[in-house]
């Protein structure tokens, strides 16, 4: 049986393999048309590539430009002023706010409060809508100030930013932030207080492999080390030796499994569970006051992690803005003075809203010759399918089974355009 996957970004469907009227296996079929970015960037100059890769994803384009710029800076030995780097980090966190708020309100909440769609919720609870709008519109303003626009920002380049925004723009954002945080906590309080109706119990014995970027001092943001169930690896080692890529006939997205066998989860769920202690005390208190504690055991609870991360991001941006208010005295127009000539391998990773985004390039004379991009959603696809199978296996193939499979997909917030660089449900008898 096959059903269209809705309330997700991009084109996909749910495929239910059925044996004697019972669910045998759940597979998420990705039908999004590929765009071949790894091919498009070949022979392009690295400055152009930073802009082009932003187009992989409308929801998380900052993550793409940011990680590409970081990868080139690292391999070419380009130094970036720490305060200029903070502008990009703040921009990236503003994108995290945008993405999480959109997901929680438009895609996740309808399931939580059993509404038909966001329009239904907006009608029932106009205050909730207004609070959400306050946060979303502020994230737009922040992205416009720091990056130029809401999607495909123009202010990230190899070596830093094109222009340091005006002090007055920072001050305005900072001034508005207090009200925005208030709107956010009201919104978040509602979301975290909803008692999720648990129509399916999580099998406590099922182990979920969790992977996030490793950081000693902060909640996972960007870097080149990863943590898998407590073990540390370099990104190179992890994506070369630990993870195996597979292509399946029903998908235009590649699949990734540890040693080619076990699926793994990246994203808010894994970050929250592995790095909860790195969240600010304020955020942890807020989460705990509403009765939530790590580890989250069921992926459908990922919205709790998204709420915590949004709060954490707003507080972090607040700290950044306080620094920026005191004027950044850096000339952002310095040109790249690379210490490297010849062919170099450039790689880096960033925690995009949906999880680890890994870019690897080979660049020569300032142009890309080889590119490889591993997206968060592509990494999650195998785990998504395994988890949905574990929960529904042996159940009767009916609307309930389909709805569980849909909810699991939505809770991962899949970004299908990314992974290929609305789901449908199919059921096959075997």
């Amino acid at each position: 049986m096959r059903a269209v996957l809705t309330r997700v970004e991009g084109e996909g469907s749910i495929l239910i393999l059925e044996r004697d009227g019972r669910v045998e296996r759940v597979v998420y079929e990705v039908s999004e048309a590929p765009r071949f970015f790894e091919y498009l960037v070949v022979s392009k100059s690295i400055e152009r590539v930073v802009d082009i890769v932003s187009r992989v994803c409308g929801l998380c384009g900052v993550s793409y430009s940011f990680v590409a710029a970081k990868a080139f800076e690292k391999c070419l030995g380009v130094d970036v002023d720490p305060e200029v780097d903070m502008i990009r980090e703040a921009l990236h966190l503003a994108e995290r706010v945008k993405s999480h708020i959109l997901h929680v309100f438009y895609m996740n909440l309808p399931d939580l409060v059993q509404a038909k769609s966001f329009a239904d919720i907006s009608q029932r609870n106009p205050k909730l809508l207004r609070n959400m709008q306050d946060v979303l519109l502020w994230s737009r303003k922040a992205m416009e100030v720091l990056g130029g626009r809401f999607h495909n920002v123009v202010n990230i380049k190899v070596g830093g930013v094109y222009r340091v925004p005006d002090k007055s723009a920072f001050e305005k954002l900072r001034k508005e932030l207090d009200t925005v945080i208030k709107s956010f906590t009201e919104f978040a309080s509602f979301v975290l207080s909803v008692k999720p109706f648990d129509e399916f119990a999580w099998n406590g014995n099922a182990k979920i492999n969790q992977v996030s970027l490793y950081s000693l001092h902060e909640y996972p943001h960007h870097g080149d080390r990863v943590l898998l169930n407590g073990d540390e690896y370099s990104v190179t080692q992890f994506y070369r030796d630990v993870v195996k890529v597979l292509q399946v006939p029903y998908s235009t997205a590649l699949h990734y499994r540890i040693k080619g066998i076990e699926g793994f989860v990246v994203g808010p769920f894994a970050r929250f569970n592995q790095f909860y202690t790195m969240l600010s005390k304020e955020v942890r208190d807020f989460v705990e006051v509403h009765g939530w504690r790590p580890p989250l055991s069921n992926v459908v609870q990922s919205y709790v992690a998204r709420i915590a991360e949004t709060y954490e991001a707003l507080l972090a941006i607040e700290r950044y803005l306080d620094v920026f208010k005191n004027a950044i005295a850096v000339d952002s127009n310095s040109s790249i003075s690379s210490r490297e000539r010849g062919s170099v391998v450039c790689e880096y990773a960033v925690e995009a809203p949906r999880g680890i985004l890994y870019h690897k390039y080979i660049a020569s004379e300032g142009r890309v010759t080889v590119c490889s991009i591993i997206t968060p959603t592509a990494q999650n696809l195998a785990a998504m399918s395994d988890i949905a199978t574990t929960i529904t296996q042996g159940r009767k193939v009916d609307d309930n089974a389909i709805s569980i499979a849909k909810r699991i997909a939505i809770s991962f917030d899949p970004c299908i355009s990314c992974s290929v660089h609305a789901l449908q449900v199919k059921i096959f008898r075997i």
């Binding site: 991009g10 071949f36 790894e38 091919y39 979303l136 130029g148 626009r149 123009v154 222009r163 660089h421």
Partner: protein, 255 residues
């Protein structure tokens, strides 16, 4: 209340999310209802609607059929963004052997069904309005939705990004600092974001399809080359963000 459908083809959802932004305005929400959008609603099949927003370009047969059925079910079709109007960055692969392209990304290229060409939506159907941009400016979508509700025809403005710099009183990055800028040949509508950040426009709203011919492009390319932009970079930008016009110019060259 007018019904709206949001349809996505080969694209990144950036324009769709600008539409989502447009619908967060209360005066717009009250006059429209999103009837169909795989991102926002649970409706699996599109029915007849007043307006269909279409993002993305056409890269396979299924999409070509889909867009024709969307046209037959929508009273007003808005082609949204550079992909729908020009082809989008995915056009950069056009001209390469499709098997080479597939082989570079996928271990099993045979599973992937895709045209060797990239078609803008406006090549397959007649669109009632085209809003340019990569992504479209969400405020332009708001402005259209207000206008549609008021009635009357849209007002087309033919100008380049230069006009926006003048209005914002931005110093010309090309004249004052010698930064190569595609503003003079690019469709307006972005509020000159890149020049306001001190960098040259890179043409993401698409190359002007009016008041521009091969000779003018050639003369302009020479000027950009003098300012240090390589021919490859220039070609990549024109092709990546203005494929429809670019391919017409290069076709003219061949004949």
């Amino acid at each position: 209340m007018y019904s709206v459908a949001v349809v996505k083809l080969t694209s990144c959802s950036g324009c769709v999310n600008e539409v989502v932004y447009a619908f967060t305005f209360s005066d717009v929400i009250s006059k429209y209802r999103i009837e169909y959008s795989t991102e926002l609603t649970d409706v699996e099949e599109m029915r007849e609607v007043d307006i269909a927003f279409v993002e993305g370009s056409i890269t396979n047969r299924h999409q070509e059929e889909l867009i024709k059925s969307v046209r037959s079910k929508a009273r007003f079709v808005v082609a949204l963004g550079t992909c729908a109007i020009m082809g989008g960055v995915q056009s950069l692969r056009v001209g390469s052997d499709i098997n080479d392209v597939k082989g570079l990304v996928y271990p099993e290229p045979r599973y992937i069904e895709v045209y060797s060409n990239v078609k803008p939506v406006t090549d397959a159907i007649m669109a009632d309005l085209a809003i340019p941009g990569c992504p479209v400016n969400g405020d332009a979508v708001v402005s259209f939705l207000r206008k549609y509700a008021l009635g009357g025809l849209p007002i087309a403005i033919y100008e380049s990004v230069c006009a926006e710099c003048k209005r914002r009183e931005l110093e010309c990055v090309m004249v004052a600092r010698g930064v190569p800028c595609l503003g003079p040949v690019t469709i307006s509508g972005c509020r000159a974001i890149c020049p306001s950040f001190g960098r040259g426009c890179y043409g993401c709203y698409g190359i002007k399809y009016f008041d521009l011919d091969k000779e003018k492009i050639e003369a302009f390319s020479r000027r950009l080359a003098e300012l240090g932009m390589s021919r490859e970079d220039m070609g990549a930008l024109l092709k990546g963000y203005g494929f429809k016009v670019y391919s017409k110019i290069t076709r003219d060259e061949e004949t």
